[in-house]
């Protein structure tokens, strides 16, 4: 009887919550599924301001760029347009008011036909933080319309060549606000973000004697050695929950995959194979790891349990497949394949089916990494003559060049960072 009551009350609670969930879902304007190319047409009206028209213009442009770059939205000129597919379905209005040294930005998101307000928000910031504020506002708009935060509040860490050394650098997802992090006069390679966006793990030669793992703390701007054990270490990868790290430990010339806890202790060996095993990347639920191995004679992609068991081969086409990264959505794995001496980006289902290549041309594409929402990829390519960082939607559209100086490689996409970071 008591049990029945318990179940009954549980049911009551559930039915009372259910409508709320339903309502929450109707708040989402349109849930875009992956692979769908239709984008919501959105207009962004000019922002009114009482003092600084330059700032208003900057803010307006950054928000427009962010919305276009999200991959979900297409910014159109205005709500009234001749061409049928250019008509905005939603539009944004905004107002900037200056108070002392800071400014306040209030914006509304409205449905075009009904003028129904979907969202009203306001943020305050110093003028130098206009980019951070614009990215935050854009992310809120994308979230309201698509039910998922976009990429506007993310950063990309990468390797920047500098006079014979390779240092870690960081920039906004759109290539702006670039900053060099390390000054080691050495080689620093393959950065990877922790789940909270506070640390970067990477391969470094800064301590001499071979590659080791370095851990860079973004807040304190310093780097420490990660994992004290002897040997050479490369290719670190944080697990999605940040509690573990997979990496490659080479002993007696043989590279195998290991995991440790987040402090670099409790090493566990996952592969024990005379072939080269490298490039681990976690599945989003943390239960499996994809990696590449030449145990069959050529580098191919494999999946194993996070304990090292149940190894299965994923790729059979092409002779050189490597740099596999598991999508945060869980369904696809991106990797690079060597075709006539050039690397191309390919995607494959975790079942080994539906192999498709995103690129196939005379340039080379390397080191792919997923955006935290799993809709975008960032990589390095020499398609512009020099090695630079590019991003692309996972359907192969919206290719954007993020760096232009050359010598930029090994990108890694951050999780969504705190606004105004």
């Amino acid at each position: 009887m008591i049990q029945f009551r318990k179940i009954y009350s549980l049911l009551l609670i559930m039915t009372s919550i259910f409508p709320i969930i339903l309502m929450a879902q109707t708040d989402v304007f349109l849930k875009i599924q992956s692979g769908e190319t239709r984008r919501i047409n959105i207009a962004v009206e000019e922002f009114s301001t009482n003092r600084n028209p330059e700032l208003a213009k900057d803010l307006h442009q950054i928000i427009i760029d962010d919305l276009n770059n999200s991959g979900f939205l297409a910014v159109v000129d205005s709500a009234i347009s001749d061409s049928a597919n250019q008509i905005a379905e939603v539009y944004v209005t905004g107002e900037i008011t200056h108070k002392s040294s800071r400014f306040r930005f209030e914006f509304n998101l409205l449905e075009a036909v009904t003028n129904r307000k979907l969202l009203t928000k306001s943020f305050r910031a110093f003028p130098f933080a206009v980019r951070a504020l614009a990215h935050t506002a854009a992310d809120e708009i994308v979230y309201q319309l698509c039910g998922d935060y976009g990429i506007a509040c993310t950063k990309i860490a990468f390797v920047m060549e500098q006079k014979g050394s390779k240092e870690l650098a960081i920039m906004d997802y759109d290539g702006q606000r670039l900053r060099v992090l390390t000054r080691t006069n050495s080689l620093n390679l393959m950065p990877c973000w922790s789940d909270d966006g506070q640390f970067l793990l990477f391969t470094t030669y800064a301590w001499g004697g071979g590659p080791l793992l370095g851990k860079y703390t973004l807040k304190d701007k310093n780097m420490f050695r990660f994992v004290d054990n002897p040997g050479t270490f490369t290719a670190p990868a944080y697990s999605p929950d940040g509690k573990k790290v997979a990496f490659v430990l080479t002993q007696n010339g043989n590279s195998d995959i290991y995991i440790a806890n987040r402090d670099g202790e409790d090493l566990q060996r996952l592969t024990n194979n005379p072939g080269i095993d490298t490039g681990p990347s976690w599945s989003p639920n943390g239960r499996e790891i994809v990696f590449s191995s030449d145990r069959s004679g050529s580098p191919q992609i494999y999946i194993m349990d996070a304990e090292g068991g149940n190894v299965r081969r994923l790729t059979y086409e092409y002779n050189y497949n490597s740099s596999a990264k598991w999508s945060p959505k869980g369904d696809r794995i991106v990797f690079v394949t060597l075709k006539s001496n050039r690397f191309q980006l390919c995607l494959i289902d975790i079942t080994g089916e539906n192999l498709t290549c995103l690129t196939d041309d005379l340039a080379s594409y390397e080191s792919p990494a997923w955006s935290p929402d799993g809709n975008h990829l960032v990589f390095t390519s020499n398609r512009g003559g020099k090695w630079d960082i590019y991003s692309i939607l996972r359907d192969g559209s919206l290719l954007r060049r993020l760096t232009f100086s050359g010598g930029n490689t090994g990108p890694s996409w951050s999780p969504r960072l705190k606004p105004f970071d």
Binding site: N185, T232, N254, N341
Partner: protein, 209 residues
């Protein structure tokens, strides 16, 4: 006057170089995690390109040679300490000889020692046997046609293949350090078979001291 100044400056520079080197070995030996100290002097990067005047030469005569500034002028800095001088000159001849060892090359995506490589390694082994206390580093390198992480692993393999051979030849394994640079330090920045062949290599270099 100007000349005197130049000599002075160069002496100070040499002093600094020695300083930097000793600091570096200290860092290598330290076991504990540590914050990185930005190296006071940039490690001289290897001269990237071979002079185009000698394209016929396959094996580059140890390009690292040019980055070895110390020995000769060091003598003039320390003219009195004959002991040190003697040690230094032994070391210098060894270093010179090590640097003159030919670099060996590999086939694509392979760490197998070719017959031409074995010939060179026999030469290297004979030299190292003459200096039983000499510590050297074996560097493994790859061409650009491989991913960053895979090439570091492949470079380890190549360095280890050389080490194993030398150990079989009777060299003390503790005197042989292996390090892989993957594709990060190409000798030839080109993108053709010629450059790739040059870059797929293992080189024996003196340990930094």
């Amino acid at each position: 006057m100007k000349r005197l100044l130049l000599v002075l400056i160069s002496m100070v520079c040499i002093g600094l170089l020695f300083n930097a080197c000793s600091k570096k070995t200290a860092m290598v030996q330290a076991e504990k995690p540590q914050t990185v100290t930005p190296a006071p002097t940039a490690q001289p990067s290897k001269p990237a390109v071979q002079p185009p005047t000698q394209p016929a030469k396959r094996e580059e005569p140890a390009p690292a040679k040019r980055e070895e500034p110390a020995p000769a002028p060091a003598k003039s800095v320390l003219p009195d300490k004959t002991d040190l001088e003697q040690n230094l000159s032994v070391r210098t001849t060894l270093e010179d000889k090590v640097l003159q060892l030919e670099t060996i090359h590999f086939d694509y995506d392979s760490y197998e020692l070719r017959t031409d490589a074995i010939k060179i390694l026999e030469e290297s082994a004979r030299l190292l046997r003459k200096y039983p206390t000499a510590m050297v580093t074996i560097e493994g390198h790859c061409d650009e046609r491989g991913t960053v992480e895979y090439n570091i692993a492949l470079g380890e393999r190549r360095a280890w293949a050389v080490k194993s051979y030398l150990v079989d030849f009777g060299i003390n394994p503790e005197n042989l350090i292996t390090i892989s640079y993957g594709k990060e330090k190409p000798i030839d920045p080109g993108h053709d078979e010629d450059a790739w062949e040059k870059n797929r290599r293992a080189a024996i270099v003196p340990n930094p001291e």
